[in-house]
């Protein structure tokens, strides 16, 4: 019963080495060259990220400014109700 397991375990006896690809070093050379190249692509990515952040911040700032302006208009109207009511044309007609 144990025999087949031993046979499987011994199946690697006399194994030969697997051969690496013949142009294997080319890949290494390419990776090293890509690494040492001045990284314009990376710079471009940073510019894109910076632009996105700038758009986000400025759009939020714009939104906040608009919101506070609107509130100011409402506040003014509430502060002087008699000024507005005195222009009630229907009351004047009576």
């Amino acid at each position: 019963m144990e025999e087949w397991k031993d046979k499987v375990i011994r199946s690697l006896s006399g194994i030969e080495r697997a051969k690496p690809p013949t142009d294997g070093f080319e890949g290494i050379r390419r990776k090293l060259a890509a690494r040492s190249r001045p990284n314009a692509e990376k710079g471009g990515q940073w510019m894109a990220v910076a632009a996105a952040i700038l758009i986000l911040v400025s759009s939020n700032a714009l939104l906040l400014t608009n919101h506070s302006n609107k509130q100011q208009v409402v506040d003014t109207a509430e502060a002087y109700p008699e000024m507005i009511t005195s222009f009630n044309i229907y009351d004047n007609e009576q």
Binding site: K5, V8, E16, P20, I28, L32
Partner: protein, 190 residues
């Protein structure tokens, strides 16, 4: 090479590419992954050459980098697989991926041993990192136990013990995953 000389790296590649590739393919059981890792190993060697202090042989150092790269790769691959199993809980067509059933044939195995070696490679992937490393380095790379001990930074006794445990575990794994072989052998012997 410590000064960034690529020609020296090419020389080292010519000398060690075969042993590195053979070790890597035994771990990854996939030629493309082994090729990718082969490049990574030599780039790591190139990057860390200035730190090499000759307290071990160049061969030991390269084997050490190779084993570490291979184990890192398998850990990442297993983590991805675990995520896959987790997400498959929510899918109806989920498949059980716990035992790696990929059919890998090592190109250096003798014709008559191909089928058995296929079972063995599947079982090796179930061993712990240390047992796997000892088994691959002693049985596939056929390195002496003392050299394996230096690569793994353990004693020769520890390597011997790990190898015994690896073989014992392999028997258990084979029996667990291939019960049909046990049955067929019993029938054949009757």
């Amino acid at each position: 090479m410590a000064e960034g000389d690529q020609e020296s790296l090419e020389g080292l590649y010519g000398q060690y590419a075969a042993v590195v590739y053979n070790t890597l393919i035994s771990y990854t059981k996939n030629a493309e992954d082994a090729e990718e890792l082969l490049q990574d190993v030599f780039i790591s060697v190139f990057d860390t050459a200035h730190k090499f202090r000759f307290d071990s042989s160049v061969s030991t150092w390269i084997y050490r980098v190779t084993v570490n790269k291979a184990l890192d790769f398998l850990r990442k691959k297993n983590a991805t697989k675990r995520k896959g199993i987790f997400s498959s809980l929510y899918r109806k067509d989920s498949a059980k991926l716990q035992f790696d059933q990929s059919d890998f044939d090592h190109p250096g195995v003798k014709m008559e041993n191909v089928e058995d070696a296929r079972y063995l490679f599947q079982a090796i992937s179930e061993l712990s990192d240390n047992q796997k490393t000892v088994f691959i380095l002693t049985q596939i790379e056929q390195l002496p136990q003392q050299e394996v001990a230096e690569i793994m930074k353990v004693t020769r006794k520890a390597v011997e013990s790990l190898l015994q445990r690896a073989k014992s575990n392999l028997r258990c794994i084979l029996e667990k995953h291939y019960p049909e072989r046990v049955k067929s052998k019993v029938i054949a012997s009757k």
